[in-house]
């Protein structure tokens, strides 16, 4: 007969240590969330006139051309339609930049450009305008293949991101891998679980009726897990986001996607 009292913490800690890290292989081949959403959602995304994400693209275009006090709009360097931005470069985000202290996400790059080049005040994370700018810029690379660096300085960071991805969090006490590696294609109540890829972001979310970039989407999953989300600028946020986007390497950029 085995007797165990829940107050025997050492046993509990042992269980926690044994089972916190989840090993399951990333699903192959990679599939975009586009393949998992309902037919009507897919149709909505594919029709520019129906896709609510294009409202953000257009709002972003206006901001991109708006002249701040310094007179230096984004367009003054990158062209009115952003045509001077290299789409191959955009498809590489998040990038590794030693001078900037590590992983730089597209939103970070946009923010530093706004502050350092245009002399504007910083925007809070997930600010409506910042999301619109990110959507406009990423949309320029729509159709390109996600191409995150996986070697060199990025390799150990992606490894750390993967560790977070496989760690159980929150009262739901599951890891990202549990849902997105073990059960893609299965249903969680009314939703079909996808591989949790990043290629569609920033995307319009039907659930919130708002745009979400990848970082915000990850936070929304953590909140669903009743876990404490990482702060927008926390290293963990960058590591998780970079790891997810590296899994999406080779998938076509769909910004603005329409997702649950």
């Amino acid at each position: 007969m085995i007797t165990l009292t829940s107050s025997r913490l050492w046993m509990g800690s042992l269980l926690l240590a044994m089972s916190c890290y989840v090993s399951a292989d990333a699903p192959t081949p990679s599939k975009s969330g586009h393949e998992f959403v309902k037919d009507e959602t897919r149709e909505m995304q594919d029709d520019e006139f129906q896709n609510p994400g294009f409202i953000a693209v257009e709002a972003g275009r206006v901001l991109f051309n708006a002249k701040p006090a310094s007179g230096k709009s984004c367009a003054s360097c990158h062209g009115e339609a952003g045509e001077k931005l290299d789409v191959n470069n955009l498809a590489r985000y998040p990038i590794y930049d030693k001078a900037q202290g590590g992983i730089v996400r597209l939103q970070d790059k946009i923010m530093s450009c706004r502050e350092q080049q245009s002399g504007e005040a910083p925007l809070p994370a997930y600010d409506h305008d910042l999301l619109a700018l990110e959507t406009f810029v990423r949309h320029l690379a729509a159709g390109e293949h996600v191409n995150v660096q996986t070697d060199g300085d990025m390799a150990p960071l992606l490894k750390k991101g993967e560790e977070l991805y496989r760690t159980r969090f929150g009262l739901i006490d599951m890891s990202c891998a549990h849902c997105h590696d073990m059960y893609p294609g299965q249903m969680i109540r009314g939703q079909k679980i996808s591989q949790g890829q990043g290629n569609g972001f920033p995307a319009y979310r039907l659930d919130t009726g708002e745009m979400a970039n990848l970082d915000l989407r990850i936070k929304q999953c953590l909140t669903l897990m009743r876990a404490e989300p990482f702060a927008p600028d926390a290293e963990e946020s960058k590591l998780l986001g970079a790891y997810i986007m590296s899994r999406s390497n080779g998938l076509k950029i769909e910004t603005p996607a329409v997702r649950y």
């Binding site: 085995i2 509990g12 089972s19 006490d173 249903m187 969680i188 708002e210 936070k219 876990a227």
Partner: protein
């Protein structure tokens, strides 16, 4: 700042029903110790008695047990349930009340790799709970007993 509002709404939707008395949050429930015997928990949590009708509510409610997120249950009028866990119709013909209790309380004592949330897991074992859930269990002891009372009817 609409996005931030949505996040706040999301956070609150997931929270247990607050304050019976308006404006006064209830005191956090003290965690009742329980004892596992032969991979089962024979004694009801805190010595409480379960209520079948409330058990049905707890298993269906998305902000409570949300068992339907993963399991199929023989409850009428449910339009969507999950497919990642075994269906639970007839479960009481296979498992005793005490065995069911361990599965709902913390099935990882049985299978360390289980993905099923421990609904009365020792709060000190939870990694990075949301601030509003620190020190709390997923369901209250009473709600767990209500769920058990319902599950034992599934013969």
């Amino acid at each position: 700042m609409k996005t931030v509002n949505t996040l706040i709404v999301l956070l609150f939707v997931g929270m247990p029903a607050m304050a019976e008395v308006e404006g006064v949050p209830p005191a956090p429930e003290t965690y009742c110790q329980w004892e596992m015997v032969n991979y089962a928990i024979p004694a009801p949590l805190c010595g409480l008695k379960g209520d079948v009708a409330n058990g049905i509510k707890v298993v269906s409610d998305g902000a409570k047990g949300n068992c339907l997120a993963c399991h199929q249950l023989p409850i009428e009028g449910i339009e969507a349930y999950g497919t990642i866990a075994p269906p639970l119709a007839g479960i009481a013909a296979r498992l005793t009340e005490a065995q069911l209790r361990l599965r709902v309380v913390d099935s990882r004592h049985l299978n360390p790799n289980s993905i099923m949330p421990g609904f009365y897991r020792d709060p000190s074992l939870i990694n990075r709970p949301a601030k509003s859930y620190e020190g709390k269990t997923f369901l209250s002891a009473q709600e767990v007993e209500d769920v058990i009372a319902y599950l034992v009817t599934l013969k």
